[in-house]
Amino acid sequence: MTSTVLKAGGLTKRYGRRTALADCTLTLPAGRVVGLVGPNGAGKTTLLHLAVGLLAPSAGTIEVLGRRPAADADQLARVGFVAQDAPVYAALTVGDHLRLGAHTNPRWDQRLASERVRALRLDPAQKAGRLSGGQRAQLALTLAIAKRPDLLVLDEPVASLDPLARREFLQGLMAFIAEHDASVILSSHLVSDLERVCDHLVVLVDSHVRVAGDVDDLLAAHHRLVAPRAAAAELPPGLEVIEQSHTDRQSTLVVRGDAPADPAVVVEQIGLEDLVLAYLSQGAATPDPVLEVTR
């Protein structure tokens, strides 16, 4: 098994004149739960569709588990996917979906699939079109994990779910990866959805990758500084200012780098949600700077 689950170089996708993903260079380590965060329309779905081979790149390269996405049946078998809004065949029953999975996937784990259906209390005879949003998402997840992929890709899996269904979905997902060694990439426009489950984060804004890295490293590398305006103006070099706001006396900054030793500067830890928000607002204020941090 490779140590890299996804490797993209200069990856670009254009639809006509609109650029959905621009010059994305990214390396995602294996064995992680990678959160892909960004506002709606940032290019998350495009990146995930490129990763599972539903789309072909306009420029650049992408390798998933060391190979071109959807190159052949073997590559398809190694990647599980749940598309946005968890589409299922409305006219087919829950049981039909499992048979469909069994017939189209050589690595299909029938025991895992039926156990999950039982645990979720889904009726195998029920038409998938009559399931609730949460049940549909769980069925789609069952289909994706029972093919026993090495990589599971989920596009906004919990966005349309109510809080209870959201938690149940993530419980099922986490139980799967605790038991089977699979990498996961999941997207969301809400950091709070991903905070507990992700250990690696990619922030995508305006079709560009803003920041990427292990959550622990990102949290350790970023600080919030509260300082008098004068002190804030003389920060040591090497500190990268992600976000700043000023009153006439005081400055509040989110920075990346070692915290300054200046006693006038109050250094605070920053939470994941605030960290991501800092990058998102940076994207809104300055349209162009491309910051890529890859490990």
């Binding site: 992680r32 739960v33 938690r167 993530l170 419980q171 099922g172 997902l173 986490m174 139980a175 990866i177 605790a178 038991e179 709070s192 905070e195 507990r196 489950v197 992700c198 250990d199 939470g271």
Partner: protein, 129 residues
Amino acid sequence: MIEFHLDGRSGISPYLQIVQQVRQAMRLGLLTAGDQLPTVKDVVARVAINPNTVLKAYRELEHEGLVAARQGVGTFVTATLTDESLAAHEPLRKELAAWIDRAREAGLDTESIEALFTSTFRSLIEESA
């Protein structure tokens, strides 16, 4: 067996919350040497967190010498934190209650009492650290 619960608003990282909850349970005598901790799968299936977070917490506890992992079986408590300190709890609690009563008599309201306690507690901990 104990169950973990995570507080998303506490500001304490999930892995640390698990470590603290195990220590707490050991201090209160809920977990003693030989008891098994919930498996990683059970924890994540219950609280929906990344399995690596649980593994990290268990590794930390192992590092502290409180638990030991047995390959293919699970993680077991190896130490006991209750010992004689548990016996000291009750008299200490009574003293603290008496102190709170005195603070009330001195005219402090609930918030002031809490602030005074917290700030004193923090500064003492920081001094000793």
